[in-house]
Structures are given as structure tokens and as C-alpha cells.
Amino acid sequence: MNKIYANAREAIAGIESGMTLMLGGFGLCGIPENSIAALADTDINNLTCISNNAGVDDFGLGLLLQSRQIRKMIASYVGENAEFERQMLSGELEVDLIPQGSLAERCRAGGAGIPAFFTPAGFGTEVAEGKEVREFNGKPHILESALTADFAIVKAWKGDKHGNLIYKGTARNFNPVMAMAGKITIAEVEELVEPGELDPNFVHTPGVFVQRIFQGAKFEKRIEQRTVRERT
């Protein structure tokens, strides 16, 4: 059983137009940039992408928005992505905006075989429309359903051939929960190491959740808001 793939192009084989993808990352931090670039090089379109953000205009998922490969975005934040906002307001892009915590928990639920759960987030707002409301401990909650994807694509710091992953810093974010929720999960890593190099006690994503793994050719790791303080 070989999980190791040579590169992004080979690792994304089998992704087809119309499929649902999950993509890890928060802003541009911890996004599977090699896989996204490889997808941008294909004719695959009509994708539903589940990702907290949609990159920026010219990097990350923004690339797939530019090339109109995405039919629907499921995200929590549009933020400063002008093209995302434009396509959304013009109706070119279908968008399902959901609270960030519900997004994370719905992905985890999808991976954990929990079809639905109650959360207080979004009660009394547009998010609750059409959803079951129930009171627990005197407080209204709404029923949210699990999210899964045909392919989940995550980015990790290190990984081994078993698919075990560790992440670095806040580049972890949505990656572990999305890794759980893909029918097929692709992990791109900065460094592919030998089994035994990752301490089992500190593996973030156990290999059982990962079907394909490859070492990314190049990581630009662009910074969205470079903020520094003066040396005094």
C-alpha cells in the first residue's frame, strides 16, 4: 500500500469537475499551495470548495476563483479578497458563509461519523434559517450537519509514508479536521521523513486519515499582513 506520490500533479489525480474539495489553511497560512497551483493548471471546474477563506486575488484559492474553476465556496470569511466579494455580490459565485467554529466542528464531525450536532452559534441570524432550533440549559441552539468532501487537501510541516503528519505553528488551523473529513485526503508536506522520525506521541494527524502524501516542490508561504515592531 503506497501512499507516497511524486508531486502535486500526480497527487490530485482523480479530482473531477463538480466535486467537493476541502482545503486547509487560515488566510494564506498553512494552505496547500502546491496542490492549488496544480489544480489551477487543469481544466477541472465547477468545484465546490470548503475552506475558511479563499486566498487573495493572486494566491491560494484566489487563483481558482480568477480562473472560474469554483462554482461554490463554503467559507467563514471573505475579508479582503476583492474578487471573492465581487463574484459573490454579482451572483457569479454561489457562497455559503458559515461561522468559523461551526465550519471547523462540521468538518471534524464529518470525519468523526457524527452526522449532526447542536451549537449556539448563529442562533437568531441568517445562519439559522431553515435549521432546527432546540433549547438546552435555557439557551437556544441550532442543529448543524457534518461536512465531508470527495477530496480533502491539507498542508503539513512533516509527514511520513504512513501518512502521519505534524504541523507548524498556526499553520495547523483547519488542516487536522479537514484531513479527517476527506473520502480521499491528500497531504502536501514540506518534508517527507522516514517512519520513526516523527515521535508517535506528538503526531498531530494519525496516518489513518491520509491516503496520499507528497513533498511540495516549493513553498512560497506568502505573508498577508507583515506586522513587526521596532527594535528598541
Partner: protein, 217 residues
């Protein structure tokens, strides 16, 4: 009138020893700069870090270490990193003692709107809906009026809501207000701002009782 930093400075006075605090994007982020250094407070950022430190020195930025505003940050000794589900487990599970966030509108029943202007602007709710639905202690940091001069302190919100009946306190460039449910109680006024000025800039019901002290920074 208070500037952005002064609003943050006033909010920092609310922070107590041992608290875990989530700061939203914008003015709230500045609150960290003004917390007394004789108390121990930990800042949580919902993208997955507890024990957030100051911005890095020039040249020491790490693309893999950012806050929820996507700004490069540092981690203090004793920090912890976690995934998004665990981060919101902290938030939804009420392990965070204070949430500070910005708003487009706040209503006197505690409703808040801060993510969308139909047909015009969509920022998305990010983590705000989870935060306001679960936090026991929510302070809104914002200007009292919008760019057109209209009050953001309302009887009822007009924009799509982020959360219902959740805001406890509002600190603006003009005043500190307590949300009563059927009005805003004026607690303090910015230096040089009169009760009448605040009354004029407030569309919701303003409750003024006794002398209103100036904000002391």
C-alpha cells in the same frame, strides 16, 4: 473624543488577572498593548494559539505564526498551539473570559451586526458568531457613529445580525455604555465630550443617571 488606541486603552482596564481574552480584528487587537503588566492575562486567537505575544521584530516574521487578523505574531513562553476545532471548543465551551470585537451596529437589547451589508459588502462572520453566541462577557469597541455620521448605537439593528442579546458593554470614541436590554446606560464620557453630544450621537434609548464621569486613561 478617544482615538483608536485610547478606546483600546479604556477596554484594557476591564481585563482581570487570570483571564483568557479573545481580541477581534482592528481596535480590539490594540487592547493587548494596554493591559497592566502586574496581572497575568493570556490572549487567544481563534486561528489556534493561546499565549500570543507582541509582533515580531523586523526580519523575525514567521509565515507560520499569525493571528486571526492574519498579522505576524510571536508566541510567549507557555503558549499553546491547537487546531481550529479545539480553538472553538474553548470559545463555545466558555473557557474564554472576555471577548472584544468591533461592530457595525449595536442595539439596546444587546444585538450586534458586524458581518454584512446586503448587496454592498460582505466580510463574512469569521469567528464572530461563535464568539458572541457563547462568550459571557462581550465588549464592543467601535466608533459611536459611522462615516456618514449616523449613530451605530441603535434601538434595533438594521443589518443582518451576528448575534442576539449578547453585548454587555460598548466602548466608543465618545462613551462607555452598559447594555441594559431596553437601553444603554451611560457610564463614562470621553474627555471633552458632553452628555448632550453623546445623546445626539445615540439613536438608541440613552439612560443617564447622576453625574457622568470622564473616562480616565
Amino acid at each position: 473624543m478617544l482615538n483608536r488606541d485610547q478606546i483600546a486603552q479604556r477596554i484594557a482596564q476591564e481585563v482581570q488577572d487570570g483571564w483568557y481574552v479573545n481580541l477581534g480584528i482592528g481596535i480590539p487587537t490594540l487592547v493587548a498593548n494596554y493591559v497592566r503588566d502586574d496581572i497575568s492575562v493570556e490572549f487567544q486567537s481563534e486561528n489556534g494559539i493561546l499565549g500570543m505575544g507582541p509582533f515580531p521584530f523586523d526580519g523575525e516574521e514567521d509565515a507560520d505564526l499569525i493571528n486571526a487578523g492574519k498579522q505576524t505574531i510571536t508566541a510567549l513562553p507557555g503558549a499553546a498551539i491547537f487546531d481550529s476545532a479545539t480553538s472553538f471548543a474553548m470559545i463555545r465551551g466558555r473557557h474564554i473570559q472576555l471577548t472584544v470585537l468591533g461592530a457595525m451596529e449595536v442595539a439596546q437589547n444587546g444585538d450586534i451586526a458586524n458581518w454584512k451589508i446586503p448587496g454592498k459588502l460582505v466580510k463574512g462572520m469569521g469567528g464572530a458568531m461563535d464568539l458572541v453566541a457563547s462568550a459571557d462577557n462581550i465588549i464592543v469597541a467601535m466608533n459611536h457613529t459611522n462615516r456618514k455620521g449616523d449613530s451605530k448605537i441603535l434601538e434595533q439593528c438594521t443589518l443582518p445580525l451576528t448575534g442576539v442579546g449578547c453585548v454587555k458593554k460598548v466602548v466608543t470614541n465618545m462613551a462607555v455604555l452598559e447594555v441594559l436590554g431596553d437601553g444603554f446606560r451611560l457610564l463614562e464620557r470621553a474627555p471633552g465630550v458632553s452628555v448632550e453630544d453623546i445623546q445626539k450621537a445615540t439613536a438608541g434609548r440613552l439612560v443617564v443617571k447622576g453625574d457622568i464621569p470622564e473616562i480616565i486613561l
